[in-house]
Symmetry: C2
Subunit: 324 residues, 2 copies
């Protein structure tokens, strides 16, 4: 009987679950909305519905399911399997008994870790980092996440909070960050930062095609509007994207200088912003990275995109139960 | 017959070698000056003399020697065992066939890595990080080095150049660094940076006790003079040390946010600068570090001091030959 595991990727708006074999092939997939109406209870119920649906289908098809892996925003306490913190976009999620709750419902081994950490594992096992042992992954979205695979295994750090690349300081006397610190990469190179710069550009120029893309509503200007305008050669938008690429490059160079991984993988929504962003980032890495580190580290775009987290969650499960 | 290995720590001025057992006890020690008069040839000869002396003594005492571990400035190519670069303070050392040359002379298994990486392993096995699996070590001297132990093993990165903490950018539009980049931690918090600030203070105030400590010779002002003056409550010196502690704290916070190790160990000459530096660094870490990461990471001073490298080199050897 062929074995499968369930990989679950919990996001702010949706939950992706898949029935995944040891080679990373997805036999069946299920997506449910993330229900945050009753805090942790409704989120757990939604995860159970996603996983439970797949388990029911698998039983009908007489497939063996050996475990469940879950990627979640924030950190998972390595001892208790509860959410230890850091999941600010999911109110009430902190403290949720993620691992024990699923284990009790499904009577299966359950493993969980930070979603971007599992993105990195997914890419390392089945994606752009295939065959590499030391991989660092950036997830560029509203915020910036990071994940590391070292020696082929997820690197969780002392509190499952390793690779918080968004909160590395790139300018100690720089912008205030939501986290309370100053000069974090996230306050320069995230989607939120790009949108803020886009709004500032629109305030200066009410004819801006950034503003047009947002339907003329300043408050609706998003990173996507800025990137779209840059693709249409809008000078103000292109300048924002270029500056963002510079900041991102400083952050990547720091990771290369400190981690010296075999490959840095850039994923998340912003990674699809196009050539200007990535070209500028790579040029900056050349200036800020140490020659000896650059020589051995590649920089590539994610190849799994939005399935990296689900596949990484499955990979964690395979790693824990079979050592693969 | 009790087994020993030879641990060798190659420094800019001296080579420390020791006959070390599996528990980290040093049975015999030998120090020779680093001879750089004929580049790599004379350095290799000096290492052979240090190790060879111990091997000869061991043979007389009928002790078994199972291998040699060497810590060196710069990076060691993991494939060839040659010096891959980064050892700027040892002219001619780049390209030296360190591992094969020693293996041929002594007919023993030889392992080598970056000296600060091995400091971290030494502390993790036998020092301030004893019992910890994930350890990050700062070596604060003329420059700033870093070393990481992950899962109890040295983390070398793709080119043995991991943990280059001195060259993480803490201010992307900041000071020029020797490495060609900008705003590196090393250009703010190293001994060289402290001496430069000390000289600037003396230029402003020719009555400075920093200058007196340097015998009135501005060009001789060193970090030590600044730290000594700070201990005597000189206001200018204390301000420099405090600022240095702040910069160092930003760097430590970055490592904690990115690596989330169980413990960060501060070693090197500057770590003995006293309470002002470390207190200020720890206070800064509290501001720049993420709460969830700080909760799980301790910050302590080195306990092995100048023997960390030699013991770490021995530990590398034990790890490679016996898996311990």
């Amino acid at each position: 009987m062929k074995e499968y595991v369930i990989g679950v990727d919990l996001g702010g708006t949706g939950i992706k679950a898949g029935l995944v074999d040891a080679a990373g092939a997805v036999r069946l997939k299920r997506t449910v909305p993330t229900d945050t109406s009753r805090g942790a209870d409704s989120i757990l119920a939604a995860i159970k519905s996603a996983a439970g649906g797949l388990i029911a289908s698998a039983k009908k098809g007489r497939l063996k399911i050996s475990g469940i892996g879950v990627g979640t925003p924030g950190a998972v306490d390595p001892e208790t399997g509860h959410i230890a913190g850091g999941a600010e976009n999911l109110p009430g999620w902190k403290g949720a008994p993620l691992v024990p709750a699923l284990a009790e419902t499904f009577r299966l081994p359950v493993f969980a870790s930070n979603d971007v950490t599992l993105n990195a594992l997914g890419e390392a096992r089945f994606g752009a980092g295939r065959g590499k042992k030391d991989v660092f992954c950036f997830a560029l979205g509203t915020g910036i996440g990071g994940g590391a695979v070292i020696g082929g295994k997820v690197y969780r750090g002392a509190g499952d909070a390793a690779a918080e690349a968004g909160h590395m300081t790139v300018k100690f006397d720089g912008r205030r960050c939501n986290c309370g610190s100053r000069g974090c990469l996230e306050s320069y190179a995230s989607g939120t930062a790009v949108a803020r710069e886009g709004k500032a550009a629109c305030r200066k120029n009410s004819d801006s095609i950034i503003l047009k893309a947002a339907g003329g509503r300043l408050e609706d200007v998003s990173a996507k509007h800025v990137f779209d305008a840059a693709k249409k050669n809008d000078a103000a938008a292109a300048a924002i994207v270029k500056k963002t690429g510079f900041y991102l490059g400083v952050g990547i160079a720091n990771v290369i200088n400190i981690f010296n991984p075999e490959v840095v993988i850039i994923g998340g929504g912003l990674s699809r912003a196009g050539k200007i962003l990535i070209d500028e980032a790579i040029e900056t890495v050349g200036m800020y990275g140490l020659e000896i580190n650059l020589k051995n580290t590649g920089i590539v775009l994610s190849s799994l995109h939005s399935t990296a987290g689900m596949l990484g969650a499955a990979a964690l499960c395979w790693q824990e139960i079979k050592g693969i």
